[in-house]
Symmetry: D3
Subunit: 136 residues, 6 copies
């Protein structure tokens, strides 16, 4: 019996979308107002799904307090109240689109969660724009 | 690396559920108050999921502004502030249940989005009733 | 000690905005797509606020089950799955804007709730458009 | 053409997490504040997904009123305003974690819904903690 | 210039509604399923509104971190994952209706917030039932 | 008959809280992580309440399309996808706390809405932190 356990968390961050090798004009054409050189920001919401067997004694797939702490230590402490482009090395070379932020978070969490469990991450940039990644 | 990108949109419309070939009595039996001959209506919410590879330069699966525009041109401009039964030819022969509206929207969007990407549409008729279709 | 007790309810209805005495052109100018002659519709949400003294024994201002039943009998049974313009006499002469629907609901509820309690009604036409009326 | 039809419902219940065979100390270590011997409680939200073919005449996978009634009869009438540990026999032997409650609900609904349709249940314990089960 | 600053928090608790001096039958008549002797529970949400002058230098009415800490220390630590009837002395004599819980919270917070500021507390028992108290 | 008409809108922006005249240490003490010199950001939500008489013919207090356009022209076009500290002159001297942003928005809107109507603005910095201002 496989159950998916989900935990919702959030962090507030600034970012801008631009490719260093491109001119300002091309960045504006491709990324529009998201390329504003002074940055803008979001209340990012994340949902972390962990799928695995239910322990027959504890009735749990993963302790939700443990999952909450992993998200806090790996993601919130790193990304909350930060400028993704300036404060996180990874995004000095990689454009911090929702897609790339989601992959980054998945990779950070994957090594902290037992590999006999599946992992999926959903990232809301706004209530209307969101992305999902599961490693495939 | 496949990521699912989602965009939420909405339209407000009137509809009624009834099968022309049936008596009023049978329509009432099957569709209940939803068959009211004077129509009723909903704030429909739609979520469009597009799944594909992340472009290694732009970090995007599909430009969310492009996706927003496709939904506006194909769905909102056609269905917002309309009577689905009277204003949209397709629903003169097909009952506008949430299921059928969702399939209709999926078909409209499918031809506008590159076939190397998967497409799924979720349609909320109310916050408590919703349906999902992915072409299978 | 005055406490405000609130109950949320909802109904789904069709409507259109137009003034009979005006030309179609003027109606379109003033009400835009909301004047579509075939109607459109909404999931209306209502919040009913009742303010009064807390009963020292029961700890209640008004029994929430009683309030729920009043809203069901007076509002939902009358307005749910209806066409406001065609199915409710009051809106044959009065334009069913959110403002006027809210006043109508307030008047229906006012006579059912003890006059030693204050009454306020909030009506959501969409999650982004809503109105509030308290009799003043 | 397979469509997933979803219905959201809810029930309010008390519970506590503990394993009878364990000491209070061990229960506190594993379940933390959730093991409070006087119980605590939640507004549980459930989403029931039913996937199947759309009937070509009615345009429905399953009548949403029927689905609503099944959920009411099987789940809400049994679990709403109850103490899961004390009022439901099943949880006298099984810890009422979100995972186990979700499996219990899925099993109750599975026998009431035609086996040519797939069934999935999502259970929200809080807006931030939720689980999903589909029988696999 | 007076601004209202609001902070949302939550706690999960069990309770039951009953008056000790009444028979079980009368309790059932007045409080319905809420009088279940084994308790039920809720995810309570609270919104604390503090109204006052904006400090011309810091631009703040009250530091939101301070407000968050007051709510945590005074309310969440006391009420989260508790049985209101059994674990909180106040509710051994007072019925823990939403109204009375809201007044209790307001009184706990009032003495911790400068009296030159107004205080209002909203308590959601469920997303559809909520109450508000401001000391008047 | 006075009715309050409300319109919800949003903008995404970066900001930081700091007082120029203070040392970095004092800014960190007062504003915590919000003083990060590289900025962070939010999805700000605003609710604009306009209270006035209902026009007896149109049934409207203010045309919601007009109100939507005013908010777009005065607020969204100015603040969306911007850095409040760098891109908006006003916040070069005034700390962009939620309180001060709300007052700024109220002042911008006040001159565009007929003075026979009352105006109130609510600003959500996050779903848990929000402020309200009405000019008093």
């Amino acid at each position: 019996m496989n159950v998916t356990v989900s935990r919702k968390a959030h962090f507030n961050a600034a970012h801008r979308l631009f490719v260093k090798e491109w001119s300002d004009e091309k960045n504006l054409n491709v990324f529009g107002v998201c390329s504003n050189s002074n940055y803008h920001g979001h209340n990012y919401e994340i949902i972390v799904d962990v799928t695995g067997k239910v322990d027959p004694v504890t009735g749990m797939v993963i302790d939700l307090k443990t999952l909450k702490d992993i998200i806090k230590n790996e993601i919130e402490d790193l990304m909350d109240h930060k400028n993704l482009n300036l404060d996180i090395d990874y995004f000095k070379k990689v454009v911090p689109t929702a897609e790339n932020i989601c992959i980054f978070i998945w990779n950070k969490l994957r090594i902290k969660i037992n590999y006999n469990k599946k992992l999926e991450v959903t990232l809301y940039e706004t209530p209307r724009n969101f992305v999902k990644y599961n490693g495939n």
